[in-house]
Symmetry: C2
Subunit: 416 residues, 2 copies
């Protein structure tokens, strides 16, 4: 009975690393005044067929449930968020600043930075047209990475604007309304496709690769939004964390306006995060009933975990966070004292201490070994000294004996 | 595009309630010296067909994936835990004290206390045969509920012993080895089935309902383990939270020895939690390669949420935990001050404050309304007073003006 390919068993150390990422994500989103939401792990397949577009639909874990419904494990958050906002968005003050920390599933070929089950932080602002919202979202994606001890030397946000490409098409006399989507798919694959293949595809638009490369190299006035964004980010001291890069257009169909992707500086890994505006998605999904501008990003845990693992500063930061399995280990030197020990264990736990003890009788030396192994700071010994107990600080081997009635008071002092 | 039946959209208030349950569960398990693990959401269907038994297999969300594998969304944690321990248990010091907080899926008829997607706390001790481990697990299930402000007036742990029933069968001359499992299924359904149906089923064993009821009413010496358990729990001051109840046997096939279920005192709700020993599961799943005693419990979020909702003490406790969307709201009274405000917002967030501000220009009065609506404690106003800023305590309407350079220092003092 094997683990499925692309899925993870999280043994305690792996789970601690996952929790580190998930809890840091929550912290930073909360500091930005975002509130948490979540949706179901399973949705109607229709939701993704209609809205995700591109590769995602081919990567769905989809099936027919026992009630005959076409269902799919969620491959991304935005369609669920849009469905929820269409259903009940009117009940909330605008703009919504919502985040989620959730699990997703994509049936992809397994490779570095890609698993079939992964986590994402999703942060979205809904109901706010101003560019200040774009800046707030980009600032959040930057701080969500700085939170792990990563710096401008480790990653960069590459920012672009789909509207600038639409202007480009219009200037070339191409109908952006009908052909824009197909064109942006070519730009999205520019770095991965062969020059020949790109050239052939562009030819259908009456364009050459040189024209496209020229626009990317000298984007000029089409990106005036970028300058406003830079002013806002500059006030936050975030110069150096981002750059204009017209080659970024994002694969998903629903983006409009500003889009961005975050990459490691060495360019060795897949994208750490990506997002942008999707001002028409709510309108399109609700047949015009709900019309609100929206934007956001998703950041996955797999590539982030890889970048942390190869960045010493980030590893140190993770190690500092790591918690031992127990703070206090209770040594039961005499079995007659077990119930007295249990009474104190219960009190310590009620005061919030993380406490462990031997479930079977064991030699005192072995119990101290277990205490060290669990990373406990203190051992409390119940034995011959009763009604006194011994408290030993494991790092220094210092020992004191106190009446058991004073135990809680002494522990409180020692833990300050 | 609708939410699937039995699944949940967690809007921010719902999500906060979920997080309250999940984070409390983590806290109490950590205090008991358990370490967290997790497994994949999707497993080979085989894993459950072989080990879960009973109703669970008929309730699987199972399907064939794009690679032709029979897979299922996990309906319970124990088979995954067993698979993980068989694979790598030898790498860890025994006993393992492991917990997980995870999501599960069962295709069941929707009704009160039952959804098709839910969370469970699972706590297990592996590699420890002593009854002290049973007591530690029962104490943990009790404290996991007290954590929510629930008391002995609100719930009770009903404890039984499958071995006592096996002795009962043997005393009646019935082959417990081959017929024990089938018999325990009848006992498990005793409270739900009609007396006629139960009578007919027992007749096949040559037993009467009266014989069974007599054993339940006067279990006598068969439950000597219960007395040892009671002594341990008594030392922890947990009398009143549990009782011996032979009618509890648990539905799942893999249990051996002590088993328990937790119910609300009014008996209105489904079980809050259930668990017990499963000393043979690892051996059976590994064809004898790994043989360790084991025990544990699972506690779901749905019934617990219902009990909290109808228990005033528990509701108060939940309200105290609830966090506002922002602590500090920055009022931008003059747009010329936006960049100065952004600079301070960034500093406040870096110091750990949860801060929000208007993304579009708005009247000062409206901004203060937003601050109140978000539950902010302080408003910091950037306007005509620059280079001074005003700090307003929203509850008392007290206001002070300070140089903006002193803002961080003053906030630090005010937040103590």
């Amino acid at each position: 009975m094997q683990l499925l390919p692309g899925f993870r068993d999280l043994f305690p150390d792996d789970c601690a690393r996952r929790n580190y990422i998930l809890s840091r994500w929550r912290n930073v989103a909360l500091r930005y005044g975002f509130v948490e939401y979540d949706g179901p792990m399973l949705e109607s397949t229709e939701l993704y067929r209609k809205k995700s577009g591109g590769e995602l639909v081919g990567q769905l874990f989809d099936f027919v449930d026992k009630g005959g419904r076409d269902v799919a494990l969620r491959p991304e958050m935005t369609p669920t968020l849009a469905r929820m906002v269409i259903a009940r968005g009117r009940d909330f003050r605008k703009p919504l600043k919502w985040f989620s920390v959730s699990q997703f599933f994509r049936y992809e070929k397994q490779q570095r930075g890609r698993l079939r089950e992964f986590y994402q932080l999703n942060c979205d602002i809904i109901g706010e047209p101003s560019l200040a919202a774009d800046a707030e979202v980009v600032a959040l994606v930057i701080d969500a990475l700085r939170e792990f001890g990563l710096t401008a030397e480790d990653f960069v946000v590459r920012i672009s604007d789909r509207d600038a490409w639409i202007s480009f098409l219009k200037a070339k006399g191409i109908d952006a309304e009908t052909k824009g989507g197909q064109f942006l798919q070519i730009i999205d694959k520019l770095e991965r496709d062969s020059p020949e293949s790109t050239g052939l595809k562009l030819k259908e638009f009456g364009l050459t690769t040189d024209e496209v490369r020229e626009f990317i190299a000298h984007p000029g006035a089409h990106f005036e939004r970028f300058d406003q964004l830079a002013a806002d980010l500059g006030a936050r001291g975030m110069e150096g964390f981002y750059k204009l890069d017209p080659a970024i257009v994002r694969g998903l169909a629903y983006y409009t306006g500003l889009v961005f992707e975050v990459f490691d500086r060495n360019g060795k890994l897949r994208a750490l995060a990506g997002g942008g505006r999707y001002d028409n998605l709510l309108r399109d999904m609700s047949d015009g009933a709900v019309n609100m501008p929206a934007l956001g990003f998703g950041m996955g845990d797999v590539v982030l975990g890889e970048l942390i693992a190869e960045t010493p500063r980030a590893l140190e930061s993770r190690d500092r966070w790591h918690q031992s399995a127990a703070e206090i280990y209770v040594v039961i030197a005499k079995e007659e004292r077990r119930n007295d020990a249990l009474r104190s264990i219960q009190q310590m736990r009620e005061k919030g201490f993380r406490v462990d003890y031997p479930l079977s009788p064991a030699k005192v030396g072995k119990q101290f070994q277990t205490a060290e192994h669990l990373g406990a700071r203190l051992a409390v010994l119940f034995g011959d000294e009763w009604p006194e107990v011994k408290i030993k600080t494991l790092a220094t081997r210092e020992e004191i004996s106190i009446p058991h009635t004073e135990l809680m008071e002494v522990l409180r002092r020692l833990s300050k």
